[in-house]
């Protein structure tokens, strides 16, 4: 489930971080020169934490330069519930489009990956927490149908809090829709590789993201069905170390491998060669 951070920003800070120049690592809490992180594919040089990156940065990282052709960019959300909190849902969408530079929480397209044509489905957490509503579901289902039609491997990169609350039951139904579309790839021997980035939860984890023929996670990504806070409240006990991290899922047999950002493209290319 997508959620807004409700914590108010703390007024007092021990260290003043000049806007834009330095960033604090979410994982090791080190203050690091931003340029250094950018140079390092947005991976913390101190602890190997993989910062969240935008869908556009992800495309640059995975697709051969200049080959990405976007699919289905003409679909937009309606407001079936007439949902309103502090903003109406259409206002919320506009706000997120401005903030993220994305039309929606996912971008799909055809591109070359190390010379081989593939279909990409890439989520962007900065757009409403990467939440899956009707547009996200439709674009993923269509991408899978295109992959099937062209017999091209599909690669998705998930980064999402889950289903989008503002579209209610329509968002829930996207889980079934995208899972059924992935089922058709399986029936026809079209490879589907699912990459899990930080974070992958709820209705996205419990649909296409966990249905990859091969599932790869970025190091230390948080992945699960229920959010850690909900689990802590339900079980009234401390969560184990590393709980819901990529390495935890690997240890429990839930994913195939953990691959660093630096080696992701090469690994995907290798897999596609092997599956061809």
């Amino acid at each position: 489930m997508w959620f807004k951070k409700t914590k108010e920003p703390k007024v007092q800070k021990k260290v003043k971080i000049p806007e834009g120049l330095w960033v604090k690592c979410d994982n090791c809490k080190e203050i690091i020169y931003k340029k250094e992180i950018d140079k390092n594919l947005k991976v913390c040089p101190k602890c190997n934490y993989h910062f969240r990156i935008s869908a556009k940065e992800r495309i640059k990282l995975l697709a051969d330069e200049g080959t990405f052709i976007e699919l289905d960019s003409d679909i937009s959300s309606s407001d079936p519930l007439k949902f309103k909190d502090s903003l109406t849902y259409p206002e919320r969408i506009k706000e997120n489009q401005k903030k993220s530079g994305m039309q929606e929480a996912v971008i799909s397209g055809e591109a070359l990956l190390s010379g081989t044509p593939v279909i990409f489905v890439i989520m962007d957490f900065s757009f409403m927490g990467g939440s899956m509503g009707s547009v996200v579901g439709e674009k993923i289902a269509r991408a899978a149908e295109t992959a099937l039609e062209k017999k091209l491997p599909m690669i998705s990169v998930a980064s999402s809090g889950g289903a989008r609350m503002q579209e209610g039951i329509f968002s829930l139904m996207q889980m079934a829709k995208v899972s059924a579309a992935i089922g058709r790839l399986k029936d026809n021997g079209v490879p589907f590789i699912s990459v899990l980035a930080d974070p992958t939860f709820g209705g996205v984890a419990a649909s296409f993201a966990m249905l990859g023929d091969v599932i790869i996670a970025e190091p230390r990504s948080l992945i699960g069905f229920a959010g850690p806070r909900v689990i802590e409240q339900t079980m009234k006990q401390q969560l184990p170390d590393n709980f819901q991290r990529a390495e935890f899922l690997l240890e429990h047999g839930l994913i195939d491998t953990v691959v660093s950002r630096e080696n992701m493209k090469e690994t995907l290319a290798k897999l596609i060669r092997l599956l061809a």
Partner: protein, 325 residues
Amino acid sequence: MRYYLEFEKPIEELEIKIEELKRLSDRKEIDITSEIKKLEKKAKELRSEIFSNLSPWQKTTLARHPERPYTLDYITLITEDFIELHGDRRFADDPAIIGGFARINDKTLMIIGHQKGRGTKERIYRNFGQPQPEGYRKALRLMRLAERFKKPIVTFIDTPGAYPGIGAEERGQSEAIATNLMEMSRIKTPIISIVIGEGGSGGALALGVSDRVFMVEHSVYSVISPEGCAAILWRKDGDLGAEEFAKAADALKLTAQDLLRFKVIDDIIPEPLGGAHRDSAAVAKNIADVVIKSIEDLSSKSAGKLIEDRYKRLRKMGSLEFAGT
């Protein structure tokens, strides 16, 4: 003693008074039958007025009513020869989901459903109807069993959601749900689903990818509970209560009537005045009729056509706008 919900308090007062008068008329010679009749009529009118104007939040509390019929109650009421089949063959048997073969109208069906418990002990045993991954894997095992023997599948949906626990995560709650969604979309026998109480998010949908989906009149089906939605929207504003939950329930459009309007479900199965628990046999009869008719409609389709139509049904789900051509 009956269990009355908050909004039923005026009915409760009247019904208690009627009971008192009945006791009185048994003991004394004064004739108060006409008085009782008058009050009974008034109670019925009151109930009819209240129940025809239920808010989404009131419906949510009714869908969670502790006396509401559960999956096993309906199985007892409408089937013969039910035999429960246990376990996922991998880790455990999850009592929050039950399933097995049974007959309705002389036809063998696989019946699978979420199961809540009645009374503290059984409620805990059933984990309040919140399945572990094993529950979903058992359900899928039973669906494949039904497919192998070409038997239709009926699922009853009634869960607050999949269980959010450490073990559930360790054993792949997401994977279990995702796999059910995908596999249900291509099971080669008819699947009919009925939301009988709470349809709580992905944990409900994992039994609900079907050829026909129905909701019992006062059931609810939603991507998130009103409490969860309220917590996301207004947690920072302090303690949450019925007022906020009611606002969230309104916003989520989670009633059977909303979902029929959205064309997410095929039809609504009526409940007796006062809710399903007032006459579970009557609701069970309505459910049986719908199940028998749906199976008749679907049984003429080939496996290929069945799966094709199920896919088309899912592909239509969504609320979209298209820019230009």
